[in-house]
Symmetry: C2
Subunit: 248 residues, 2 copies
């Protein structure tokens, strides 16, 4: 199991594609060269084009006798600078990251200032429209817990159920940045970016915070705010429970 | 007077060069297009290749009737994404940023972790060697005040006197990052990067903190630590006193 950090700016997302650079493609290629086997990793979170990660997950089977914890070092020698393996470890043979009970934390970074800051442009969404953090927090409170998040799911998602649990959803002012930090047991397609886009509507004063509740009840993507741009999003934490290889 | 923020990654430094991209070159070109005059700005800090800034200074004369405070908006439409004007204002005709009493604050960012983090690679120096922040703080204490910083000056600097005043020099642990924050009335060529390189020697335990004092007294570049890489450095603050255009 690899813990993979990346700057998604130059990639068409995590998931393998035929004619576009992807994180999965780079990891497969470098693992193949290192282990002299054809490797196809199974990814944890299928982050979109331009989305970043501190700790996505990739697992694979290998015949290699290289100890699990050494693979990170060898692999980092081959990977491009914008992808780094932060940890590698042996896990149970049947372990599948998307079939195991887990908890992910995403952060959405907003630079809310009069002018953009060039050194932050790749890792935050810039808006000069003043956002009221208190209103964003009020709106966020409606979304915590187990809900049907159908309104917060873009077309193209493949899951049957759109019920998910948000364990916590914080909105924090950090200097000129506003950080939305959300932890949950799973996220629908574009869910965090739509949450961010919706909370920003409340922050701008365009919508009252209680509208967040109406959006949930509508179960209609059209009711929620826009999908916030990819560059502001980063997968910050990924925790597993019962990693014994059985579906929980 | 323009307050200029930039990501220095793609540039050969602030100062104009004939055959290399520079911040000054881009600002001159865009101002020339906007104002339909040949403009040559006078820069505040001549940051090196790869060094970043939140607030460098550039001043220029113009015949234009565009109000000073509007120029930032118009100029940002023309500048590349990695350069942004955060403020523009009219100042006294004779004002010269390098001849005016001023105080600059630089930050040097070190990512001190087991593995690099791709989203921080452009704006910090990575080292996996554990650094002791307490030892770095002890070493830093010797450098605060008015001193001859000849040992902290690379060859190629053009000043006669190498005496400068450091008003404050803090070393702070911020998560996995160590931030060196230094405020002074002026800095010699590569001074902050040599300070950072020297403090890191103390942090590694290679040198005792009190060696910082011996380095000052040696007045010899060879006595100090290495010049830390450019990408970790950012000009964070630039304050002027008595902006009446006279040399103070």
């Amino acid at each position: 199991m690899l813990t993979v950090a990346y700057d998604g700016s130059a990639y068409s997302g995590f998931q393998l594609q035929d004619n576009a650079p992807t994180i999965e493609g780079e990891v497969n290629r470098c693992l193949g060269e290192l282990l002299q086997e054809e490797i196809k990793v199974i990814g944890g979170s299928r982050t979109d084009a331009g989305v970043h990660a501190l700790c996505n997950i990739a697992v694979f089977d290998t015949e290699s006798r290289i100890p699990g914890e050494k693979i990170s070092y060898a692999l980092n020698q081959r990977l491009p600078e914008d992808i780094r393996i932060r940890q590698s470890q042996e896990v149970a043979a049947g372990f599948h990251p998307r079939r195991c009970e887990s908890r992910k934390t995403y952060e959405y970074h907003i630079l809310n200032a009069k002018f953009p800051v060039p050194t932050k442009r790749l890792y935050s969404y810039f808006t000069y429209v003043p956002l009221n953090v208190g209103k964003m927090q009020e709106a966020a409170a409606y979304l915590v817990g187990e809900h049907d998040f159908k309104s917060f799911c873009s077309a193209g998602g493949q899951t049957e159920s759109t019920v998910r649990t948000i364990h916590s959803l914080q909105v924090m002012q950090e200097g000129e940045e506003i950080v939305i930090r959300v932890t949950g047991n799973g996220f629908l397609y574009n869910m965090v970016r739509i949450l961010a886009g919706t909370l920003m509507e409340a922050g701008k004063g365009a919508w009252e915070p209680e509208r967040a509740n109406e959006i949930l009840l509508a179960k209609d993507r059209g009711a929620a705010g826009p999908t916030a741009p990819a560059c502001g999003l980063i997968l910050a934490k990924y925790e597993f429970f019962h990693m014994d290889g059985n579906r929980n």
